[in-house]
Symmetry: C4
Subunit: 207 residues, 4 copies
Amino acid sequence: VPGEPGVGRIESVSDGVFAVAITLLALDLRVPDPLAVHGGTALLDRLGEQWPVYAAFVLSFVLIAEVWINHRRLFACLGRASHGLLWSNAFLLLSVITIPFATSLLGQYVTGHGASGRRVAAVAYGATWAFGGLAFNLTWWQARHHSLLRADLPADTVLRLTHRWVLGPIFYTVSAVVALIAPWVSLLGLAVLGVLFVLPPPGPPPR
Amino acid sequence: VPGEPGVGRIESVSDGVFAVAITLLALDLRVPDPLAVHGGTALLDRLGEQWPVYAAFVLSFVLIAEVWINHRRLFACLGRASHGLLWSNAFLLLSVITIPFATSLLGQYVTGHGASGRRVAAVAYGATWAFGGLAFNLTWWQARHHSLLRADLPADTVLRLTHRWVLGPIFYTVSAVVALIAPWVSLLGLAVLGVLFVLPPPGPPPR
Amino acid sequence: VPGEPGVGRIESVSDGVFAVAITLLALDLRVPDPLAVHGGTALLDRLGEQWPVYAAFVLSFVLIAEVWINHRRLFACLGRASHGLLWSNAFLLLSVITIPFATSLLGQYVTGHGASGRRVAAVAYGATWAFGGLAFNLTWWQARHHSLLRADLPADTVLRLTHRWVLGPIFYTVSAVVALIAPWVSLLGLAVLGVLFVLPPPGPPPR
Amino acid sequence: VPGEPGVGRIESVSDGVFAVAITLLALDLRVPDPLAVHGGTALLDRLGEQWPVYAAFVLSFVLIAEVWINHRRLFACLGRASHGLLWSNAFLLLSVITIPFATSLLGQYVTGHGASGRRVAAVAYGATWAFGGLAFNLTWWQARHHSLLRADLPADTVLRLTHRWVLGPIFYTVSAVVALIAPWVSLLGLAVLGVLFVLPPPGPPPR
């Protein structure tokens, strides 16, 4: 239809948001104030004290990268967009731009503020991801039920992706709930998930 | 014409500006200073106190997303650009990059500073959107009157879009004027508008 | 040649840099500290005091937008890139990302710090643009002399663009030198230039 | 294969990350606090004191630009992507977004904090680049060994690029190790490398 835009610009603005959000994560890496660092190995010590910030930075980087990898796959399946898909994708991006804040909270409160601060930070972190996972699946749901998929897409590909992607919000919701009781267990679970994302998938030679 | 650029890069740089502006909104979400948070539920309390900041963040996110959705639609109607269209689009982007500032003002002054601070913040917020709405309609006006539209665009599509888009600056100007007298009414109006944007449009099944 | 990249990604990364730089300009718009604003029209007064910052923000926005408009035109003339063109374009981007800093300097030192602060700020501002103008013309020079232009580009288009673009660094260098003696005159000249950029070009109906 | 995404979006999100990271470098250029600058040439003196920050800014700009130039070349050789390539490219981007932090550390600790601060900063800077160089070569390695290259790519192009690119991580690792003993020598080596990148390559007329 003339004047009906395609999905190209949704990919383009989403790539922009992913790129900015992933780069803003690094603003949490703070240079210790030169006026407060004196002598010997002081700078190294100060940097070392920030290890929870570095860990949260790398964890969020890996999880956002995985969301982007799936986003790229999802949009390669689309033939066109709809009002609902535009907005569910927007809410996915809303969760992505909130991740640097949730990461910052995690990096600063996971240690040194007792169980209470750690619990709040870990629950907020898991909940932000759960929200993103829901928005992602809502986007996919609309693609499937409102005839937005490419016509040549094999039915078993759709099924396989649906089964894989539905695990995301389940896992993240569980992780947010577990964080209420045992924040460290929740974070460990997310870290293991991150490692699994990076490891080569099992099965036949790389596609 | 060889050497005459198309509209692709206008879309590309605009997508970049939208993506950065929308992500910078999240810089207003501030992690409470760990040195000033002590004991029990202190962190949760501190985060809770920031509710106007969160509300302003979500409101601006939804309104910017809607501008982008309309921008994508407008540019899908264009066959080429002109000097005037480049600049009216630039002024639209000027309003978009000013929104994080206006949002920040709103989030910090809508409560706790009496009617005076709230009024200034709400008027500035509405006025920034009114400026953006004017720039958007000026862009569309130039497209229609300087023969920049695609040749195959149906006349009734053009008319329908013109009627829909002209409402924007009217609504935002009214909201800025109302804010002079009743800031909360103005903000409530914008919030209702945001919800209407997200809800599925009435009529036949989703396009 | 297989494996030889085209100019698409140079446009894409440049658009990204322009978009981020133009949006970062807005970080200079600062919300007055709520703890230091009391009573009546205090917020309005505080915002009003920042007028040099707003003026510098709008000036830089218009000038960067004009650079982008010319960048888009230049790259529409290119058929391929070269080592030299990649780097002269990179130095153009270096000046673009330095503009938010030069703008900030201008906005904060153009008033209230006597002739000395104003002079330094205005010279730095003009010099940054002069550097950018040189890099832009160097890019164009390489395109013309290293056979990077599209084969179908009319010779008179090339000549016309060359004559127009060479004025940029001349004007900006003059403005930096004038700023040594009369900063306000230099800034007024840049403001007039900005207005001329936005006004419709003389001659036949808009292209 | 329907639903299998191409390499376009990897280029697009990478361009976004490069653009944001390169622009964030400029956030290190700080405007001296107007309240602390008094009289005569005070502003100029304050700006002059920041020379290590400016030098680190330009050095990182040139090195990131070179990584981007090579990234553009590498992706022009690709026909498709794989799980492993997506992640090695992600780790390259991880190093790119960490460069502004490493640059900041360098600019603030290379002078005025004795040999100890300088050593930590220079080692961290070299190590960040070494990590990036490894990720870049891992990306290329996967492209070559998992049949991701374009079918029409000449074998000697592949060989030539492999030999050139393998030098990167070697050079950066040496620079990080040298920084342990002689930070200035390490930084001088990086600066010379930067100049070599910008100079026209030897041999026949520019491609």
